[in-house]
């Protein structure tokens, strides 16, 4: 008996329900992978949150419930604000440091020089001119006892200690016998 294939010329088809079933069957590992990926994403986010818990807490960032693009945008905004704050603080620091440097360079020598010119009972001192800026220039009259320490010498010493190169121009220094003293007029100039 001869075996004859009666479906030889029949076109092979798949029913829609079979097609759907087949497709769903193929998709199941894809969806399973998708769920696994979601768990992986959560664990990665939790790990990041744990590694940076201090900063996340400080800026109240919600890593778990916020979409990553908006989270990144928020963090970038905070970073930009911090950069601006840092620049502003640096400018303030530079300003204060420059002031402190300027104060040490200018105010201390001036205060010491002015203190050295303070009048005491023995000597009589009159300031004719004082110019202070980049240099220090003083013209003064001094009535002093010959054995006493002169204020002008003290000023010269103070300027030398403050790092000035001092030049002294004595216009006159003469004795006043009736007072048992001497009187002098001099210009003291200090340059850095």
């Amino acid at each position: 008996m001869e075996r004859i294939n009666l479906f030889r010329y029949k076109k092979p088809i798949l029913k829609v329900s079979s097609f759907i079933f087949f497709t769903v069957a193929l998709l199941s590992p894809v969806l399973a992978m998708r769920f696994t990926l979601e768990f992986y994403k959560r664990s990665v986010i939790n790990s990041i949150q744990l590694n940076h818990s201090t900063i996340v807490g400080k800026y109240r960032l919600n890593l778990t419930n916020t979409p990553l693009p908006s989270l990144l945008s928020t963090i970038d905004n905070i970073n930009n604000q911090l950069v601006q704050t840092s620049k502003r603080l640096q400018a303030q620091i530079d300003h204060l440091e420059a002031h402190i440097k300027n104060y040490n360079e200018k105010m201390e020598p001036l205060a010491r020089a002015l203190t050295s010119l303070q009048k005491n009972d023995q000597n009589w001192l009159v300031l004719r001119r004082l110019e202070y800026g980049d240099s220090f220039k003083v013209e003064l009259y001094e009535l002093y006892e010959p054995n006493a320490f002169k204020k002008s010498d003290l000023l010269e010493k103070v300027l030398l200690e403050s790092g000035y190169k001092v030049s002294k121009n004595v216009i006159y220094d003469t004795s006043m016998p009736f007072l048992n003293s001497r009187i002098s007029n001099m210009i003291i100039e200090g340059r850095k």
Binding site: L26, V30, L71, I75, K106, Y132, G133
Partner: protein, 154 residues
């Protein structure tokens, strides 16, 4: 539906969804999580930097003691005949004629404060030393010009 076409279609749908839901999403997430990590590291660095600068600034501000306000300097100068004015370059100018005692008072007061520096000082004794004749005392005036510069004067 022809079987071959159905199989190809089904495989195509599966492949497309696998590429989108798994591969693309994984790569996108990897990229975003790496960016998140680096952004947080930068945030930590910037935050540390700002905190350190704030601390340092506070220490610098503490060094500058005692401090004087510009109103206090103004009121100090107003007690004399000197004029006080703010300049365009941020400095302050005190100038005019003043008695020596008052000038000594002003200078000794200004030298106390750490937030103020005397940029330049010019004192000119325009008159000769005082002479007392028959109880008549001639007062001496000095020409004064002081340029001040300061910080934290508010």
């Amino acid at each position: 539906m022809p079987r071959r076409l159905a199989i190809v279609l089904s495989l195509s749908i599966t492949l497309a969804l696998a590429l989108y839901l798994d591969v693309y999403d994984y790569l996108r997430f990897s990229n975003l999580s790496a960016k998140l990590e680096s952004s947080l590291v930068r945030l930590e660095q910037y935050d540390k930097n700002v905190s350190e600068k704030r601390d340092y600034l506070a220490r610098l501000e503490n060094i500058l003691q005692p401090r004087v306000s510009i109103k206090r300097v103004e009121s100090l100068v107003s007690s004399t005949d000197l004029s006080f004015s703010a300049q365009k370059d941020g400095t302050f100018l005190i100038e005019g004629k003043c008695e020596p005692e008052k000038l000594v008072l002003i200078l000794s007061e200004l030298l106390k404060y750490a937030n103020l520096t005397v940029q330049s000082l010019y004192i000119d004794g325009s008159e000769l030393p005082p002479v007392v004749i028959d109880q008549t005392q001639k007062s001496v005036f000095l020409n004064v010009k002081v340029v001040l510069k300061g910080v934290m004067l508010e």
